[in-house]
Each structure stands twice: as C-alpha cells, then as structure tokens.
Symmetry: C2
Subunit: 86 residues, 2 copies
C-alpha cells in the first residue's frame, strides 16, 4: 500500500535563522505589521510503499533523520498526509 | 492576541523539482526502497498579532502569496498552528 508522508524540517530553537530574519525585516515595507518570529524551514512530501501506516512512518522518520535534516541544528517531524494516502 | 501560523509552499503539479529528484536518486544507495514521488518545498512559521484567528489567517495568506511564494510555479497554503497559538 502507498502512504503519502510529509516531513517538516525546522531549525532548532536558538539556532540563528537568517532567512526568517530577512523576511521579517522586509515585512513593514510591504505593509504587514504585527508579524513576528518568522522561521523558515523545509517541507518534503513523498510516497512510501509499506504494509502499514506505522511502517511507512518509521521509514519516513529514518529517512528524515539520515538524509533530509542535519540533526545538529534541525528538528525533523514526519506525519502521514491523511488526504493523499491511498 | 498572538496567533501562530504555518505556511507551506510547494511546487505546483507538473513543475520540475530537481531537489526532490536528487533526493529520490540518492535513496537506494542509502538502503531506502519503495520511496517515490519526492517533492521538496518550503515551510514558514510565524506569529501574527490579530483580533481573531480568521484575521490572522487572512494576513498569513496575503503574506504567503505576495512574499513567500512565486504563484507562477508554487502553491501556498496557510494554516493555524493549533498547538502554539496563545
């Protein structure tokens, strides 16, 4: 069975985020006020062929930690994409 | 009130995704089989100061379309981060 999985990779709390800071600085000039604490991260979506959803999630977690994120500075979180799983 | 918002920016269907394709090619060498259709995207998390959740979402949507994504090739989707909103 094919399971659609989403992996979110975000910088750990306390790690400097220059991309987020740059976006935040640009906001007032574009008319957006009251937006704070902008953090940029990465998002990966893929299909895992597995017998169960749990097994698909386990594969996605291993993949997220070994290939998609740098565990020193980033957190990875895998979840099933409920809508797209078939 | 402060609302925590998440914006997901993903490439539109049909748009070539070299980052996702590169990840997919690297997987078999790392022992991951049965993973397909890898798509890479971006994730932004920020706090919006607004009277209501709807208003915060509207701000986040406008921001996502004007600043965080390229509407020609990307889809942007904003949602509330239920856990972090205070």
């Amino acid at each position: 069975m094919n399971h659609s999985v989403i992996v979110e990779v975000t910088l750990r709390t306390g790690i400097a985020d220059p991309e987020g800071a740059t976006i935040e600085r640009a906001l007032p000039a574009l008319g957006f006020t009251g937006v704070r604490a902008v953090r940029a991260g990465k998002l990966f979506r893929f299909d895992v062929e597995a017998d169960s959803a749990d097994q698909a999630l386990a594969t996605a977690r291993a993949l997220a930690e070994r290939l998609l994120s740098n565990p020193v500075i980033e957190d990875a979180h895998a979840r099933l994409d409920e809508v797209a799983s078939t």
